[in-house]
């Protein structure tokens, strides 16, 4: 009799635990579920990408006031025109030393930011192009839309193009810091010789 009861109790316990697990695992994926102390999760301090009722446009990330410059800002005083492009091409030179470390960094940055369109070897055959994006000219054999061969593009011209963009290419100034742009240019010069 006692043994029977034990088996029954055990069986019921297992069944109860199993049903609980089944019941609680049916979680709504659109909800975060129960939260303890939610004010720890919904920060009182504002994150840059959060809405903010204190500003007129409702954003925490505000633009710096007009005419101000962040500390350490590197200016590039060539306008986004054909003349600015040509002038930058003759006047601006890469300030970074040509070291193996800079070149390696440039390779990684190129693969992350440029290769989707320009391709791993700069031939203008990236995977985004394969999905229907207009192909850019090849660094080694193509012609630039602003005159001359792509392989002859100088430091300043490439820097101007990365900073402002040209044709289908957008500006990469928000994604690449000036120093990173120069590292990318080192690697692009290598691809021009391929």
């Amino acid at each position: 009799m006692l043994a029977m009861n034990k088996i029954k109790i055990l069986g019921i316990a297992v069944a109860a635990v199993a049903t609980t697990v089944v019941v609680t695992s049916c979680k709504d994926k659109r909800s975060t579920g129960w939260e303890y102390a939610p004010n720890m999760y919904e920060h009182i301090a504002y994150d840059p990408d959060q809405p903010n009722p204190n500003f007129k446009d409702g954003k925490t990330a505000q633009k710096p006031p007009a005419g101000t410059m962040p500390v350490g800002f590197v200016s590039f005083d060539y306008p986004n025109t054909k003349d600015g492009y040509e002038l930058a091409g003759t006047e601006v030179k890469n300030p970074l030393p040509s070291t193996q470390a800079n070149f390696e960094d440039g390779k990684v940055l190129f693969e992350h930011f440029c290769s989707p369109c320009h391709g791993m070897k700069g031939l203008g055959d990236g995977l985004v192009v394969a999905h229907g994006f207009p192909p850019p000219p090849s660094y080694s054999t193509g012609q630039s839309s602003r005159g001359g061969a792509m392989k002859d593009l100088s430091d300043g011209k490439i820097y101007h193009t990365i900073t402002y963009g040209v044709n289908a290419m957008g500006s990469y100034a928000s994604q690449l810091a000036p120093e990173e742009r120069w590292k990318v240019i080192m690697y692009v010069h290598h691809l021009q010789t391929l």
């Binding site: 609980t20 975060t32 720890m40 920060h43 054909k82 989707p116 207009p134 044709n167 289908a168």
Partner: protein, 410 residues
């Protein structure tokens, strides 16, 4: 009619369209499409209205010369497209240019004649399912009416039956009275049964105890959380099929605490030119939401800053304020792959939280992961200090960074 049209077409085009196609795809598609304005004008309609082939040849071979010579037509195009110059194609002979022009004209004609037919086909397809639904609903309504009518008739006949034989009604009531009393008896018997009561109590206790246990363990754990986002951004297409690196959009992950949600200018790097899937004939409604948020008009390619409004993405991964986490430390210094914590994002159509992000989860990884001392200034300095202590040297607080401002004034 058809014969005349073909004769007219060949006489008018002169070039070889098949040879033109190869040149067009190699030289022109970077900036032009047949039916859409991209960087340059849509070539189909432009070449239909512009029939002066000699001028076109001059323009294609050296547009800069025409602009320099202040040709009025050339200046008009130059100014309309924000003075962005077209590539000079001096390497194309007159014959090559004629071939390209022939290709553009014949191809655009083909597309135009194919378009109305395709449009009609999609229209039929679009109305197809809705017709089915409408007819289905009408059918359901009719069937429901029939059922109501039949049931009404059945009720009527039953009522007549009861009215004609009054003996039937009281009998039914008697049966109903006997039912509940039996149930109450059974319940009373069960309540008096101590074993049964014990088992019920035990079941309830185990159920609530295990429910409490599971819920407490899962409180504040958001694994699998998959909120609905304002734009259905497919990571599987961008990071999967096109293998765009995570850093392209989340460029903050290598430099800062925050991996950053990309601002719309990064979307527009590509979506300035791409407004639909490569397989689709109509513009994507999801990409249109980007244009809407920016006040961008794809027809004129101009932004209207008065219509700009931010897109409110819903945060998926959220750490409480009590925990400090820095992306750059993990990605740049340790060289972790994004997938280690975020899971196979490149296969996700809709992003969900892959890891629990609990303290236990953090600690487990920190216990197992070996650090790379080489090339890391912090650990190298620590190693130097240890070496100094081993040699019996004096190590001061200042040498350990004790006079850094942030040590006291944080």
């Amino acid at each position: 009619m058809a014969g005349l049209a073909i004769c007219g077409l060949t006489a008018y085009a002169q070039g070889d369209a098949s040879k033109g196609e190869a040149i067009f795809k190699a030289k022109c598609t970077a900036c032009h499409k047949l039916d859409q304005r991209v960087i340059g004008p849509a070539l189909g309609p432009t070449l239909q209205t512009e029939t002066d082939d000699k001028w076109l040849t001059k323009w294609i071979q050296n547009n800069q010369a025409l602009i320099a010579a202040k040709d009025p037509k050339a200046l008009k195009i130059y100014n309309e497209f924000n003075q962005s110059a077209m590539t000079v194609f001096g390497d194309l002979s007159d014959g090559d240019v004629a071939n390209v022009i022939a290709y553009v004209r014949t191809e655009y004609k083909k597309e135009q004649t194919a378009a109305p037919a395709a449009g009609a086909a999609t229209a039929v397809q679009e109305t197809g399912p809705s017709n089915l639904v409408v007819f289905g609903l009408i059918g359901v309504v009719i069937i429901a009416f029939i059922v109501i009518l039949v049931l009404n008739k059945v009720i009527n006949t039953l009522e007549r039956l009861v009215a004609s034989r009054p003996a039937l009604a009281p009998e039914e009531v008697a049966v109903e009275e006997a039912g509940p009393s039996k149930g109450i008896l059974l319940a009373k018997a069960l309540v008096k049964n101590k074993k049964f009561v014990f088992f019920v109590c035990l079941c309830a206790t185990i159920f609530f105890a295990s429910w409490t246990w599971v819920s407490l363990w899962n409180t504040n754990v958001h694994t699998g959380y998959q909120p609905v986002q304002p734009i259905k951004f497919p990571h599987d297409l961008h990071a999967g099929a096109m293998q765009i690196n995570c850093q392209y959009c989340h460029s903050g992950a290598y430099k800062s605490k925050n991996a950053t949600i990309p601002s719309l200018n990064i979307c527009m790097n590509c979506h300035k030119t791409i407004d639909r899937l490569s397989t689709s004939k109509t513009p994507s409604t999801e990409i249109a939401k980007i244009y809407d948020a920016l006040g961008y008009d794809p027809g004129t390619q101009k932004y209207d800053s008065t219509k700009m409004h931010p897109i409110q993405w819903v945060r998926v991964h959220n750490l409480p304020d009590l925990a400090y986490f820095n992306h750059s430390q993990h990605v740049k210094v340790q060289g972790l792959k994004c997938q280690t914590c975020h899971g196979p994002v490149e296969t996700m159509k809709e992003v969900y939280q892959y890891s629990p992000l609990t303290m236990k989860w953090c600690i487990q990884c920190h216990k197992r992961t070996e650090i790379n001392i080489k090339g890391n200034a912090y650990y190298e300095k620590m190693e130097q200090v240890h070496e100094l202590i081993r040699k019996g040297g004096k190590v001061t607080e200042a040498m350990m960074g004790g006079i850094e401002c942030g040590k006291c004034h944080y």
